[in-house]
Symmetry: D3
Subunit: 220 residues, 6 copies
């Protein structure tokens, strides 16, 4: 039987974010498991930091999903879950959003989850989306780093800021599990978990694990 195939799409056009994603996903590239491809949306903005950035990538993502016949499942690797429903409408193959999967996975690891956002302006958008998913009941809080997506992926100060914000989520808001609110934070997951002493969820890893679950369930 052919190996299953999962396509992970970075909707922004920042190669450093894509490279970081690709490296992090190697943990799921298992000899006879599904192939995990990682691609970047050429049309995407350099970072998705506002609603306009979100809207710009929805239909390009859908086209990419419609045109890729190889994938058995798709992961949209941006914490705004851009175009999730318009992509789902275009295919019967499963499409996962990393915000949705990150939050869902956090709910299996703690009583109340905290979210580290990149920018203050994203928080209202994320809260709206949490309500849309019907998953706001166990939110402890969301706090922003106050950095750009690009800074978060490359800046050395990013980890220190994530640690500080993580401590606020745990100690002030009562979170006992943390969701990293950006696809570009993967390499910080493990050090942050050690620093905070509570589970830290990388949403892209969470989504790819769900995708693996979905595609492997097809081949029993």
């Amino acid at each position: 039987m052919a190996r299953a195939d999962i396509l992970v799409i970075n909707p922004n056009s920042n190669p450093a974010v894509t490279a970081g994603l690709d490296a992090a996903l190697s943990t799921f590239r298992l000899a006879d498991g599904p192939s995990i491809r990682c691609t970047m949306l050429a049309e995407g903005p350099f970072g998705i930091e506002c609603q306009k950035d979100v809207e710009q990538v929805t239909l390009p993502l859908r086209r990419l999903v419609e045109q890729d016949n190889a994938a058995d499942a798709f992961v949209i690797a941006c914490f705004s879950d851009p175009g999730l429903h318009v992509c789902r409408e275009a295919t019967r193959r499963p499409v996962f959003g990393i915000n949705e999967c990150g939050v869902l996975s956090a709910l299996a690891r703690g009583e109340r989850f905290g979210v580290i956002a990149i920018l203050a302006q994203s928080v209202a958008r994320h809260q709206r989306y949490l309500r849309q998913m019907g998953l706001a009941e166990r939110l402890a809080g969301e706090r922003p780093l106050g950095m750009s997506v690009a800074e978060t992926a490359s800046d050395e100060r990013a980890f220190l800021r994530m640690e500080a914000v993580g401590h606020e989520l745990v100690e002030k808001d009562g979170a006992d599990v943390i969701v990293m609110g950006c696809a570009g934070m993967a390499r910080h997951r493990r050090p942050l978990e050690i620093a905070l002493g509570v589970p830290v969820i990388d949403p892209t890893l969470a989504a790819v694990a769900m995708a693996i679950g979905a595609v492997q369930a097809q081949i029993i």
Copy 2:
């Protein structure tokens, strides 16, 4: 680096259920991926069909978790998620319950989920638990087969009954994704999905996928 290890525990003592689980999980046994062991709780009842059955296995499950030093993550493979919190209290390693993971995974595949329960008497217990998890908002409905756990695992009529109940969940209750409410239904997942035309979630596969996500995230 050593391969990660996941221990899947069937809390009932029905070998047919354990064997069915073990067979279904082979889809996740990938060459260089985590080893996935499947065990049975010797002390467990033949099927977990009421609250008393649930309570009988909570501390035995905890002992098993405490004594197993090899596992990096645990999955409790019974839809009542018996002992989930008492096991989590005993270890810092992640412990997954299949009801919790089945519902969480369904929320990434449809707008409203339906649950196929084994017995009518389980429905109130499951609803209570859904509220406990804060995940009741998108429930379409839960309907029982009216069969024992043992019958569901072995009886040839089980699939026909699951199909009938699944159609009611989809057509009367508005579900667009179905969660199979028992660890013993794994082999029916794919035919049921084809018959109903909506995604069908096997909760054990969902939980093991999340466990794979958790343990592989530790080795980036």
Copy 3:
């Protein structure tokens, strides 16, 4: 002081819908009140009937909002509220969506509201959106006509179907106020209200009334 100005945008490119809207809005064109302009999105599809149609108009709507310096407030006259948040991001002037305003206005007229949708496929999208707004608690139900937007605006059978669906919402679902789930239904509002014996909300009228409230509040 200059009269205020409200721009009502039909995001589809069906001139019959726009003409119907324009005619219905004459009730709000008062001698010294705000001017109410009604425009059509040239780029829009002939009807907005799926998520893809929604996504196609979000950025064109934003451009229209950015380029119109005359308007003191905007109304997006499609029951999917396409682009609402991306338009709000582009301006400090208020932007109203007719789904949001229709539901909000219904909550001031009855205990539980019912929604008449055009198409069955829209219902899940609307429910998702109701949750996003945090306004699902008093929903009695939503039922589709099973017609296209174009048919609803012009077909003589539309009213009979609306009446039948309205009766189901009132008698089976317990609605005591009805929201018409499309911008193209305005001329049916009053006959439907008489036929059903409960208030019927035209969402465009509801949104324009809120827009009038917002712009007139600026000139006290």
Copy 4:
């Protein structure tokens, strides 16, 4: 066709509040639009500041509604929405409460609303009412001025206090839209909006706009 008619009732007997209301409502008195009459409940207390004050005016308000044959819609202009349901029971014409309409209108202008109450003792009553309406999900917070209704309407310090409380709602509670929790605050709306940098809703204006929407919808 005859012009529609809206009756706005101040349930307290403070002429300064009524005069302030009457002046503020002139913005809605448009040449060929509905007439907007403003009246005062002779039997009402000087300010409605506790549950007893609320109860005293419920039946007088109903009598007023029953006896006024001219009005096509009624607005009860007190933030406790006294007698709203007993008045609705007495007539098929729409009756609007300014708390309900103020909150509903705020939900179309921001993600989370804050309420400026007059008195600390009112906050629990308002929270109870928000739950009754099913509209508590997007509340950021409510904070009192600690002044009487009369002081709020006339005292020069009222604005400074409103500004301070408004800043707390925005900065500490995360509100991005403010509802003024009293009918006597109308003249402070615009300066407060400028001072806070977020939309400020005067609930009486919000209710009268909804009333205009309701009565004008009858004459298409």
Copy 5:
């Protein structure tokens, strides 16, 4: 130490209801326990069947509470809980409403409660009140008898109708505990419980038990 004293007030002026209450409450008249007085509101309507009836008794109830210096706790024995908050405002002694206490007590006896209302027109009022209390989450359903308060207290057909409606609540709505939605149904409680096979809560008994708990807790 003096015996505690509880005043149970029937807000309607139907002596048959008061006599029925008084008889039912004898079960709580224990030798050295609190005295339980039962009184009737002379000003009350013959039955409280609409919002107007509710409003008529709020201030008379408050006066009665203010003037009775003997009582250590009060019970308002009408399922609309008229004047509950205005009475609480008037005294630091506890005031119990039978709807509130009936629902709260039902939540300790079953997973989902059903309510037998007297009249169809009461259902919306009760639902509004359930939301106000924040107690709607476990409601199975509410169904009316379609009888007046007086008929329910005296009519021989009342029990047969209660039995039929109770069966619908259990079998169609999934209730496993029933709340009788009127103070005049006390004598039917036990036969109805036997007929339905699930616990049946008389709300007045539930409220008086809570009142006993409150007053006896003062004398430890």
Copy 6:
């Protein structure tokens, strides 16, 4: 007719807690009222302070319920409500948990309740349980004393700590009624109520009052 009988079970094996309970319950031992027996679970741990302690007593509690033919109702006197549902499954006689009854009773005495927990580690367990009961909506907050069950029952410093924590719940969290989160706090109820100026609920008294209500309702 025989007097009814209520069995109150302390699931821990601390005789001081049982003696304190027994003394407090004397307020409900009325000449011709139900007998109220107070027993201790020999197998129980010295205090129930974690999930493991909870699980250890569930089946022993069930056995005790099954074997006691005298009782007409049972009260499980531990704020974790251990074994509540497994005991209910074993009998048709009512079984009350003191957490459930304490919270339900608090909802009849204030707008928002605060909980004084013994240990920080209990808070997440209690919150999970509040959601399970569907009763979290009116929670103001829960704060721990940071003491053991044994210390709380005997230590003289316990009251001072309860007073301090109670003031935080009232002043910082907005509670206007307090639930004492342990069966061993009964003798502090009245002084705490006086110190805080808001009603304080002893959960065991609340549960026994509900039990009295249930058993006396059987003998009308």
